[in-house]
């Protein structure tokens, strides 16, 4: 546990030292702020004290931003050779992956925490559904965690950060959009399966204020799968022939 936290701290520090963290946070706030308050289906247009529009925007913003944060995680260590350095310290492959996962998650949590003024503002305008809003935030956190773990997996496959970024988006878009679209064309079992695989299904049910173990299991399995895949890819060095 201590080891994971040491890795997380270093990773966070490197995010902030390289300004990447500030750029991401500011970009996220500007992006969500614009679409929540000023452009498109804003709160004033909908005339409901609800953060639905914010959740809708964040759903897309995080989808794009997270791969940009996660793309370097393993790929950079691989290309610079520091992967060998760190894994010959008392650190296991799993601890390294977990530490990096936590670092990005904390950064995303920080960005989300900074949107709390939206919540407070809307709550002061009219009667807001607190349950649905809290679950909406939970949905964002779970979705972010899932995309971070996909991002780490993508980063562990290659030592090229651009490939890592694109691969994360490519894998992500299936869960984000494609499964959902495909589900409409297939009836019955296939359609249901695709619908279950689609991340938007689970995310939307959370933002509407409905919590179901099915959704939690879905997110948990996606996270575990991604992290496990990343660990496998790092351990691949020993799986020759």
């Amino acid at each position: 546990m201590v080891t994971i936290w040491i890795i997380t701290k270093r990773e966070l520090k490197s995010f902030f030292d390289s300004l990447l963290a500030y750029i991401m946070i500011i970009a996220f706030l500007v992006f969500t702020g614009l679409f929540t308050w000023m452009i498109g289906q804003t709160i004033f247009l909908v005339k409901q004290a609800s953060l639905q529009s914010f959740f809708g925007v964040s759903y897309w913003a995080l989808f794009i931003f997270i791969p940009a944060l996660s793309m370097k995680l393993i790929a950079e260590e691989r290309s610079s050779g520091t992967l060998e350095l760190i894994l010959t310290k008392p650190v296991s492959d799993a601890q390294l992956v977990m530490g990096k996962f936590l670092a990005v998650l904390i950064l995303v949590l920080l960005s989300l925490a900074l949107t709390l003024p939206y919540y407070i503002t809307v709550a002061s305008i009219g009667p807001i559904d607190h349950g649905a809003t809290i679950l909406g935030y939970l949905g964002l956190v779970l979705m972010s965690a899932a995309y971070i773990s996909i991002g780490i997996f993508a980063s562990s496959v290659t030592n090229n950060q651009i490939i890592s970024f694109l691969l994360a988006l490519f894998i992500g878009i299936f869960f984000h959009l494609i499964f959902d679209i495909l589900a409409r064309y297939f009836p019955g079992f296939i359609g249901n399966t695709l619908n279950y695989l689609s991340l938007s299904t689970h995310y939307e049910s959370l933002t509407r204020g409905v919590i179901d173990s099915k959704d939690l299991i879905y997110f948990a399995s996606l996270i575990v799968l991604g992290l496990f895949g990343a660990e496998m890819m790092i351990g691949r060095r020993n799986l020759t022939d």
Partner: protein, 309 residues
């Protein structure tokens, strides 16, 4: 702590990078790993440091095995990987603190250890700079500092002096010698003089196999067990001396190596010595022997002999 490598084989695809290698390094010994590029030096070191696990065989350090106790082994090893990878965006002190934390050095001792390493490795002037801004020599020192920070029992250094200038090389060698008194050290190099100057024992590895193991003088003997003498004999006719030397019973080959003076190179038959015979001949003939120097085989020759075929 002793390092015992037992029949390790590491394959990359169909190629064997390390092929059934066994050796032992005792506590307090500095062993040099010598071999041409791609011989398997780094792969063997990566196996010892638990970065790569061998397909076959085992490595034991003290009571620990790389298969059962990788975490313990990583704790007692200080490792400088090849090409010295570092987090370029971190300041030196932060970096050393990070490594010290990973090794679980308690907070009270941490600062003391970091400062000691900064001092030992001569990093005082650079400690606040980012690693990426340092010159190659200083980066190498940072690499050594991180390898030594937890006062490891076993030190594995993959080409520790590459990229350093001659003064720095001498400093680092002295440092390694000093550390090597109590610890077990393996270092790799392809510079022969370096290995000869620093190491108690040399392992020559070629195409994944150990081809020689011994002290530098052992290796010289092994490569050439013929005695070679350089002789200067005065007060005699050059051709007469030449013929007399050639007629001795242990002589294999005589060469005249100077244009004017009577200087010869005499090779004896394998396993024999001609020194006594030469002395007697000189006495019998009334010649004066002014030089008799044994010529040593160069380590370069040994290395070429062992790794060329």
């Amino acid at each position: 702590m002793d390092i015992i490598v037992e029949n390790i084989t590491k394959r990359f695809g169909s190629q064997k990078a390390v092929d059934n290698v066994s050796f032992r390094v005792n506590t307090g010994e500095i062993v040099g790993f010598l071999g041409p590029n791609g011989a398997g030096k780094s792969t063997t070191m990566r196996a010892i440091t638990c970065f790569l696990s061998p397909n076959e065989g085992d490595i034991r350090i003290g009571d620990y095995s790389i298969h059962q106790h990788p975490e313990e082994i990583k704790r007692i090893i200080g490792y400088l990987p090849e090409l010295n990878p570092l987090y370029q965006d971190m300041p030196v002190l932060d970096y050393l603190k990070f490594i010290a934390e990973l090794h679980g050095i308690p907070k009270i001792k941490r600062i003391q250890r970091i400062l000691k390493m900064v001092h030992t490795c001569g990093l005082e002037g650079e400690k606040h700079k980012k690693i990426g801004e340092l010159s190659r020599g200083y980066k190498q020192r940072v690499g050594l500092a991180q390898a030594l920070i937890h006062d490891p029992q076993v030190l594995i250094l993959d080409e520790p002096t590459s990229g350093l200038d001659p003064n720095q090389i001498i400093e680092i060698r002295e440092l390694i010698r000093e550390i090597g008194r109590e610890k077990t050290v393996i270092l790799s190099s392809h510079i022969l003089a370096e290995v000869e100057a620093t190491c108690d024992r040399i392992l020559i590895i070629n195409k994944g196999r150990i081809v020689a193991d011994g002290t530098s003088s052992d290796l010289r003997k092994r490569a050439q067990n013929k005695e070679i003498l350089k002789l200067t004999i005065e007060e005699g006719e050059r051709n007469v001396i030449y013929k007399t030397l050639q007629s001795m019973k242990n002589t294999d080959l005589v060469d005249i190596i100077s244009q004017s003076g009577n200087t010869f190179e005499l090779q004896s038959k394998p396993g024999t010595s001609s020194r006594r015979d030469i002395f007697r001949i000189c006495v019998d003939q009334g010649w004066i022997l002014t030089e008799m120097t044994p010529t040593e085989t160069k380590l370069e020759d040994v290395f070429r002999l062992l790794t060329m075929n």
